[in-house]
Subunit: 130 residues, 2 copies
């Protein structure tokens, strides 16, 4: 695929998440998707994203940086959110937190097949300690 | 710059770190470098990297994923290291830990001018709890 094709697909995938348009997630995510080297499959991936939106009513994926090659997209995503309860094991409980996620999406036949993500938990810890 | 030029520079930068070849770090890192949006400057960046190698005698940067466009490189780096004391505020104390860093390097005139990094602290916490 051309780099710009994957960039466009990735933007549509993130829009799909932001709209919680779950009927269309399968257009962007492969049946055999893995997350940080672990197979979770499409249903596991869908459930994880749906659970996040339930736990974080104002969840929104903001793209700070994005780049693509012929098989992969890398994004730096920024979040400004107020998780209702614990988040990543931290007692956030409705406080506004801001942090980033750096993530690689590997594509297979135009769908995300491997996700390699790191969330900046340390940045949240700093904000909760202030 | 061409994408392949930045890929090559990034590989040489990581080799330079792995060799602790501090006299050459200025070939790859700009005087006004920033880290996650904060100005630290070349001297601050050099000091931070030197302190890491002092605290982690077996520190080595392994590239799992790397991609470039005309102004930026994204890498997923893997580490298998034994920090002597605390690491990221965690009591590692000589235990072998494995984790990843997803990082974007923005280039200006062929040198790294902005670093956007997230280290997988949560993965380390899981290993320390086992």
């Amino acid at each position: 695929m051309q780099n710009n094709d994957l960039l466009a697909i990735c933007h549509r995938y993130l829009d799909c998440l932001n709209r919680q348009d779950w009927d269309y997630l399968g257009k962007y995510v492969a049946d055999n998707v893995s997350y940080n080297g672990q197979f979770i499959g499409f249903t596991g991936y869908l459930n994880a994203r749906q659970n996040e939106f339930r736990a974080i009513p104002d969840l929104y994926f903001n793209v700070q940086l994005v780049m693509a090659n012929e098989s992969m997209v890398a994004c730096r995503l920024n979040f400004n959110i107020t998780p209702s309860h614990d988040f990543l094991g931290l007692p956030v409980h409705g406080k506004l937190i801001s942090f980033s996620e750096n993530v690689f999406y590997e594509f297979d036949n135009g769908k995300i097949s491997k996700v390699w993500s790191v969330v900046d938990k340390a940045a949240i810890e700093v904000q909760l300690s202030q």
